[in-house]
Symmetry: C2
Subunit: 382 residues, 2 copies
C-alpha cells in the first residue's frame, strides 16, 4: 500500500490493471467499445480528475486495442499529468468535431457500445448520431462489476473518511445547538469536515423538529429549539472516497422535562434494532434486497412500516451513491469487499423522524462497520 | 427587482413566465415534450436546486399541458419548498420505475422529445427505452434561446459576482506569492472568494512560470519564484450566477532585474490589444465568431497566432460555460443582454503564457464590462 501524506493512495500500476480488466469485462459482455466521460468512472480507471464540461473528454476502451483518451487540446497538459496507466492521448482543436475524433478510436462496425452513466446527455446524443449503427447501453453493467469490490486501499480511504465524519458528529453533539439555525450548524459541519481531513464537504443535512420527518431536508433558517430531535446526515470526500454518516440527536436544552417523549423513544428503539439487525445480516452471499427486508421487517413489526419510505442503503466509493443498492427488487448479491450504507429511517410527517446510518464493508468474518460513533440516541443539552 | 439579503433574487412570478415561454418555444420548435433533469436548466425554470443523483428528478413540459415534476417520494418536501411557479408534483416510490412515471406525463405518441443537456446518460438511455417511439434531441436548442438573454436581476447577480472576484484578484496581487506553492495560493483564492460574498468557490487556477503556458493548468505543488508570470483564473457563484476572471501577474520578488523580459512584454501588449478590441466588437447584431476573429486577427498579426489555442469566450449565467460560444464556426449572433467571457490567451509551451478575461454583457449602448480590475500586466513584488 502506497501512503502519501499519511493516507493511502492508489498505486499507478493499479490503473493499468483496472484498464485491462475493464476491457476484458467489456469484451466478455459483448461490448465493442466502452466510452467513459469525465467523472468517477474515469477517475477509477485512470486516476484523472477533471471537471465535466461542454468540451468532450472521453476515454475509449475497445477490447484488444490500446486505451486512448480524447481531450481538448487545451487540456492536454492536464491529461498528461493526470492520467496514470498506459493510455494514448489524442487531442481535438476548438473547431474540430470531438465526436468524430472519438469515433476514430471505436472499432468500425461497432454494434454495442457502453457509455459511462454520468456522461451528459448532450454528449451521448451527439455520439449516438455519429455512431449511428451502434446500440448504446450504460457502462455501469461493466464498471460496477469492478468498482463494487473495493481494493484494500480504497477501504482504507473509506475508513479514514468515516472516522473523520465520526469525530465531526461528536463535536456537533458536544456543542451548542439551541437557538442556532440549521444553516449555521450545517456551515459548522462543513468547516469541521474539512478540519478533520476531508478534501471536500459534500453535504450537511441538519433537520430539526418537524424537518427531521423529511429524509432529504437540507438545512434551513429554522432555529433549533429545546425538546426536539435533530437528524445530522453529513459527508465529504477523502482522496475521492466518500464519508456518509447519520446520527439522531435529541436536544433537551438542559431541562429535565426536555427529553424525548415516549413515542419517540419507542420509534428510536425500533429503528436501532432494525439498523443493527440489517448490519448483522450484511454478509457475503446475502442478497442485497434481503438486507433491506431485514430492516423493513423489524420496522413493520414495530408498527412503523408506512413511515420507512426509502431503501435501506446504497453502495459508496468514488461515488457517494453507487451500486450495490440495498432495495427490494435489486438482483445483486453481497460479496466480500463491497462497501455500502445501512440507513433505515422512520418519519412521522409533520411531527419528527430519525435515521441511523453507517458505512459497512462486507467481509467473510462479518460486517466491517467503518463508523464508530455511538448509534444510541444522542440526548444532549444542546 | 426583489432584493433579499442585499442581493437581487428572482421573483417567483418570473418562474411561471419562464415555464410558459419554454413550453411555447418547445412547441414552436416542434417538440412534443421537454424533459429537464436536475441542474441549471431546472433551476432556471423552477428555482429548484437539487443534487444530481441516481434517483430521477424530472420536470416535464409539454405544450398545452400543465408543467409537472416527477420526484422521488423522499424528495417531496424538498421539491415543495424549492419549486416556484405552478408545477404539479408527482412522486415515485423506491420500487417504482420512475421512467414509466415520467412517460405518463408525456403526450401519447410523442415523436420529438428534448432532454436537458446535463441529464445523466444512464437516465437518458432508460427514457429512450421507455419512450421508444420518440426521437431525443438536446433541450439547449429550446432553453438557450431563453437563457442566453439575461433578465436585469440576472445581470445584477453576475455583476455582484464579478466585482467580488475583482476584489480577490486585487488582494492576491497585493499579497505574498514568492516561495508559496500554487496550491496554497489557490486555497487563499477560494477562501477569499467566499469572504467576498460568493456562495461557492468553483475554481482557482494558479499557473506560475512554465505552468502559465497551459490554459487549464489547475494549481500544483510548484513553488512560485521571482521573475516569472502567474496566471490567476478564478471564479465562484453568487445566487447561482458565476464569476470568471483572469488576470496575469508578473512577480519580480522586489528586484529591479526581476521584471518581465522583452518577449513577454511584447506578448502581453498584443494580448491586451486583442482582448480590448474583441470587447469593443462585442455588440448586438455581431456574429459571435466575428468577435473571435477580431481577437485572433490581432494575435495572428502579432506573430502569436499558433499560440492562441482556444476560443475567445463562452456564455455565462447559471452555468459557468453556456451558450453563446465565441468560436469560429458558431452560428450565433450577439443580442442585447447576452453575457459572455472575452478571454484570449497566448501560450508559449515550456516557457510562459498569459490570458486576460472579463465578463461582458452586450448592450445597445456598447459592451457592459462587468469586471473592473485593471487589465494591465500586474507587475508586483509578490
Amino acid at each position: 500500500m502506497t501512503v502519501v501524506a499519511g493516507r493511502p493512495s492508489i498505486p499507478p500500476a493499479r490503473y493499468a490493471d483496472r484498464l485491462r480488466r475493464a476491457g476484458e469485462v467489456a469484451g466478455e459482455s459483448g461490448f465493442d467499445a466502452l466510452l467513459v466521460g469525465v467523472g468517477p468512472d474515469l477517475r477509477y480507471l485512470t486516476g484523472y480528475v477533471a471537471v465535466p464540461l461542454e468540451r468532450l473528454t472521453m476515454l475509449v476502451l475497445a477490447p484488444g486495442r490500446r486505451p486512448a483518451i480524447v481531450v481538448p487540446r487545451l487540456e492536454r497538459s492536464a491529461a498528461e499529468a493526470g492520467v496514470r496507466g498506459d493510455v494514448d492521448i489524442d487531442t481535438w482543436e476548438e473547431t474540430d468535431d470531438p465526436y468524430a475524433v472519438v469515433a476514430r478510436h471505436v472499432p468500425p462496425a461497432a454494434r454495442r457500445i457502453a457509455v459511462s452513466d454520468r456522461l451528459w446527455s448532450s454528449h451521448l446524443l451527439r455520439l449516438q448520431a455519429t455512431l449511428s449503427g451502434a446500440r448504446f447501453e450504460p457502462a455501469s453493467t461493466v464498471l460496477s462489476v469492478l468498482r463494487m469490490r473495493k481494493d484494500p486501499d480504497e477501504i482504507e480511504l473509506l475508513r479514514i473518511a468515516a472516522h473523520a465524519a465520526d469525530r465531526v458528529v461528536g463535536q456537533i453533539a458536544a456543542g451548542r445547538l439551541v437557538g442556532r439555525t440549521e444553516a449555521e450548524v450545517a456551515r459548522e459541519v462543513r468547516d469541521r469536515l474539512i478540519a478533520e481531513g476531508h478534501d471536500e464537504a459534500t453535504f450537511a443535512i441538519v433537520a430539526s423538529g418537524p424537518n427531521s420527518a423529511s429524509p432529504h431536508h437540507e438545512a434551513s433558517e429554522r432555529v433549533i429549539e429545546a425538546g426536539e430531535p435533530v437528524v445530522l446526515d453529513i459527508g465529504g470526500t477523502v482522496g475521492g472516497y466518500s464519508s456518509d454518516i447519520t446520527r439522531t440527536l435529541w436536544v433537551t436544552g438542559g431541562k429535565p422535562e426536555g427529553g424525548p417523549d415516549a413515542e419517540f423513544s419507542r420509534l428510536y428503539a425500533v429503528l436501532h434494532d432494525a439498523q443493527s439487525e440489517a448490519t448483522a445480516a450484511a454478509r457475503p452471499g446475502v442478497a442485497t434486497e434481503r438486507v433491506d427486508a431485514v430492516a423493513r421487517g423489524i420496522i413493520d413489526a414495530g408498527g412503523f412500516g408506512p413511515h420507512f419510505i426509502h431503501r435501506t442503503g446504497h453502495g459508496i466509493g468514488l461515488d457517494g451513491h453507487e451500486e450495490p443498492y440495498l432495495v427490494a427488487g435489486s438482483r445483486e448479491t453481497l460479496e466480500a469487499r463491497m462497501a455500502f450504507s445501512i440507513e433505515p429511517g422512520i418519519y412521522l410527517e409533520g411531527r419528527y423522524g430519525a435515521r441511523i446510518e453507517d458505512i459497512v464493508v462486507a467481509d467473510e468474518s462479518g460486517p466491517d462497520v467503518l463508523n464508530q460513533a455511538s448509534r444510541d440516541l444522542l440526548v444532549v443539552d444542546g
